[in-house]
Symmetry: C2
């Protein structure tokens, strides 16, 4: 039994007393307690693959920041790895794939992850639940198929993901074949997370913003929808950063909640989609401002979303050089808010 | 006298026979003739600061691709340099500023460029006009104040420009002071370009997309408007990549034309702003597709913009690994189009 089930009730569309709040990238980055654990390890992947440690950093923001949900500490790139493309996390530079997908035979070679390759994630979820003892729910997650395709083709981060986008234009059929394999793998993965006890899940389409309405309709929406349908009753959030052109399409999918980045105005969508839950969308940069400004802008943001169907979050992952006390101030301001 | 003044007539709102076409980053990158000149030089900056050579690569796309306008080969970072912050262009990595703006006294120290520091640009414009002999007009350009601020504070490219955005939130007054100095410098610079004979100009707000509607209104629109007003009758184009949240504000400024990136749909703006000229917005990635697809998508794009007030361009600078023949195909397709 959950002691704080506010986010679950909210995403199910129930009337709640205030909006729940969590923060993308809350587990890690900004917390001294996290950085201490990181320093004692060989690298990021050791933390991801060691369930006890992953659970420990997952619970830290619940203890320290007082968020209404824990999101399992992991990485979206475990899926390409489970499919046969291992990744490395290069300190200070981000992810790197020694091998990338370059051809039709590379796509053929990839396996569909059955889910069991990622037992360490499910173990981390179970550890987290044991530690939390029902204090707050656990959120599972995965990368959206297009975002995973981006990394598989590009091999690392990129401003424009030209090579990935080139594929959509030059190799549409092969792109669909790859997206199909990623989607099947992701469904297996999220279902196993559900079995391990997550109460909801989020799909991150981190690189959606490089596409266009037409490309998003062809190469993203159908796969995202397939995931949501496969997950059945487990409520999901989809967050496609920068994809302003796809918001209406996303709001028309089976995800119960849709994330907004800080460039999107909630009022634009409230009227046409009154039953959808919107998540977001505080500009993480505002956390660099003074305490007064943080409080004032948080209240402004809350009022824009109205008095229902809102999960509070940032409009992007919290930046690593943010003072965690400002994040706590943001969270406390939300928790003091009453509908 | 101009032999081809199609872009000038279009931006002035006259009825034209077909839309004019040019391509962001047309001078350079994709043309073998450009790369040959580049190889013979010590670096990018030698090309920018040598008027004869800058003029030569400015004219190349007119000769080879058949565009309806030449845009002077230069860089938006000449302005910070003229204000006291020299830049370096690191091969394969982009621009880098050894010194950045970090404090109030750094802002104080910056000078307002009088324009004369950049004589090499005006000389390049004059050389270009001599070589072109009226074949097509020359477009001048500058970076938008916010984008220049980004580089001055960050010192190099960035995905999120956190440090620059932190300034807007944490040091709003100082940010305004810096934007003011940049704006004055930019006006002096564009006026000198006008004296050298450009027929129109474009302001590039390359990093606009990291802001939000509220921040864009406070820190960008007033400065952009001040530039447009200072330029008087010389028609200007403003292009704020990714700033979907600011499009209506931009369309309400004194710029005659507003650029759209490929994620924006022209129909959204046509009805509310029938007299504004829209520029764009072919996805540069589509140029990776087959010839048939390039032609088909170009025609689709043309039809979306209707039969007036359109300057054809890409929705972003052409990517370096694009086959120039595909770019020519795109241009030829536009030129075969009749309203």
């Amino acid at each position: 039994m959950l002691k704080n089930d506010l986010i679950v009730r909210t995403i199910k569309g129930e009337t709640v007393e205030r909006p729940p709040v969590w923060v993308m990238r809350q587990a890690g980055r900004i917390l001294p307690e996290y950085l201490e654990i990181r320093r004692s390890l060989s690298g990021f992947k050791e933390l991801v693959t060691t369930p006890e440690l992953a659970a420990e950093v997952t619970v830290q923001p619940v203890d320290i920041l007082g968020v209404d949900a824990a999101i399992i500490f992991s990485d979206i790139l475990v899926i390409p790895e489970a499919m046969g493309l291992p990744y490395e996390m290069v300190e200070g530079r981000g992810p790197f794939f020694p091998e990338t997908v370059k051809s039709s035979s590379d796509v053929e070679k990839l396996s569909i992850a059955e889910g069991k390759e990622l037992t360490y994630v499910y173990d981390a979820i179970r550890h987290t639940r044991n530690t939390l003892d029902g204090r707050v729910p656990v959120i599972g997650f995965a990368g959206a198929p297009f975002t995973i395709l981006c990394y598989m083709i590009e091999g690392k981060g990129s401003k424009t993901f030209n090579n990935a986008r080139r594929w959509l234009h030059a190799e549409p059929e092969l792109s669909h074949k790859l997206l199909d394999k990623i989607t099947e793998s992701t469904i297996n993965y999220l279902k196993a997370q559900a079995s391990a006890g997550v109460s909801l899940y989020q799909v991150f389409d981190s690189w959606a913003g490089v596409l266009s309405e037409a490309l998003y309709r062809e190469f993203c929406i159908p796969y995202l929808e397939r995931i949501a349908e496969a997950m059945g009753e487990l409520p999901g959030i989809v967050f496609a950063k920068g994809a302003h052109f796809a918001m209406r399409d996303l709001l028309s999918t089976s995800y119960r909640a849709v994330g907004l980045d800080w460039t999107m105005e909630p009022q634009q969508y409230r009227e046409s989609f009154p039953d959808k839950v919107l998540q977001g969308n505080f500009d993480p940069c505002t956390l660099y401002a003074s305490e007064e400004v943080v409080v004032e802008r948080t209240k402004e943001m809350l009022s824009k979303f109205g008095s229902s169907n809102h999960i509070v979050n940032l409009g992007h992952g919290v930046y690593p050089d943010t003072d965690w006390r400002k994040v706590k101030l943001f969270i406390d301001t939300v928790k003091a808010h009453n509908y």
